[in-house]
Symmetry: C2
Subunit: 293 residues, 2 copies
Amino acid sequence: MIDWSADRAAVDRALVEACDGLATRLSPRLFDAVKYSLVGGGKRFRALLLLSSYRAVGGSADASKLAAAVEIVHSYSLVHDDLPCMDNDDVRRGRPTVHRAFDERVATTAGVAMVPFAARTAFDGAIDVGRSPVEAAAIACEAMIASGAGGMIGGQLLDLESEGQVLDLDGLERIHRGKTGALIRASALIGGLAARGTAAQCDALAAFGEAIGLAFQIADDVLDITGTTERLGKTAGRDLDLNKVTYPALLGLEPAADRAERLVDDATATLERVGLLTRELDSLARFVVERES
Amino acid sequence: MIDWSADRAAVDRALVEACDGLATRLSPRLFDAVKYSLVGGGKRFRALLLLSSYRAVGGSADASKLAAAVEIVHSYSLVHDDLPCMDNDDVRRGRPTVHRAFDERVATTAGVAMVPFAARTAFDGAIDVGRSPVEAAAIACEAMIASGAGGMIGGQLLDLESEGQVLDLDGLERIHRGKTGALIRASALIGGLAARGTAAQCDALAAFGEAIGLAFQIADDVLDITGTTERLGKTAGRDLDLNKVTYPALLGLEPAADRAERLVDDATATLERVGLLTRELDSLARFVVERES
């Protein structure tokens, strides 16, 4: 097993630092809400993926600020996902959701504020590891694209619109490629770009991220059925309550889990072909399908 | 009087073009909502200010895409301002607000999608007028900063939090510098940056934008009292209904209008000192306090 505690601590520190830089620019309640959503724990999977991809390509600087940027994008998506007009959820990471701890206005506004905040943090983080302003801007763009129309936001809405509708496997995959996949793909890709990987290396990392991103979502769907609210830190059985189309619903529980496993195998094979399958990246890929929360 | 119809038409065209570029990347309803909010008319004041600032510094290329970017930021702010959890308004530019024409989920999501969309459009627009990728990234950053935590979003929330509270003139100005001022300031500044203005020119344009931005908000407060819903294209008397602190409420109607006039005089004097007070910029500054909607 790989010990991620030092990386997690570095990312958490970078998040607090980036956040504190906002203190004088935000109203106190908005600042509190942004910080509340960012420092509430979480697996930091996307950040670890970014750091591992960066190191796989040979990067050796401290990329924790860059890694913090993808966690900010991720946090924004959780805040808005939980809103009353979206999934209307009360619990996240074992704590009240932002609109419960604060209110709906603050949660809506804090979420929006986090998108440019993430772009800024990505830009600064790329400069930190020695990239030029042009390269840093391209990296910040990847984070924005993943959070933008074609990525997460589009997937999120497709997901909401699908509730109660008939959806086939292709339709479901399209949703998840946007909703979860775009940011996980971007995390791996940004790690490669930050270490100035070759086009072949960056393409392989992006493909790896895309595949494990999809596996991640399938595993989430499975966990929603097999997990408990306590272990998940969020309401279990939510998808069924909302009558959402999920992989287990379309394929059955076992075949869905098998599909996630196969995606992970393909993903690691992709990395192996370009010589980037480090122990860290292999471990993260396995974690996607073996985790319990 | 200056005839702005050609500029307005060019900006409207650029908005439609930028928007159509999103078509394949968004779900149909999300795309419809973004487009609905963008092509619903409006004065295009921020776009005209950007174009005029650009030309004042000697820019001669077609900057309509860059100008479209600040209108996208502005549209995002209107969509979220009107949400039920914010001002809860039903009419905007004489049409149903986005969450009325669609629903709250779509309006929330469309608004968020517009922030990275605006950054992308600003970047492309800056490249269009011949700026380097680094310069274009800096310009896109200004648009993001204006829409971000320190700018509009912060001001919007301070505004909401102030409802029913005791607020002095300083507190009110802090809100409006963020809420309306930041983007109007950025529009003038971006025009200067896009034409590669000197630091003194860009500073003067930013100061000009900041002052007329504040005057714009004071005039809005005055119009909310003196205007009609029909002429404004939005619900008149809304501030009073919401028990908001406004300039007329703090200063009285006449002194508030006087203050706006003085700000505009100061703003034009600032430009005159650096030789940038063109007929166009003078006309826009006067429009701020002379408009009827």
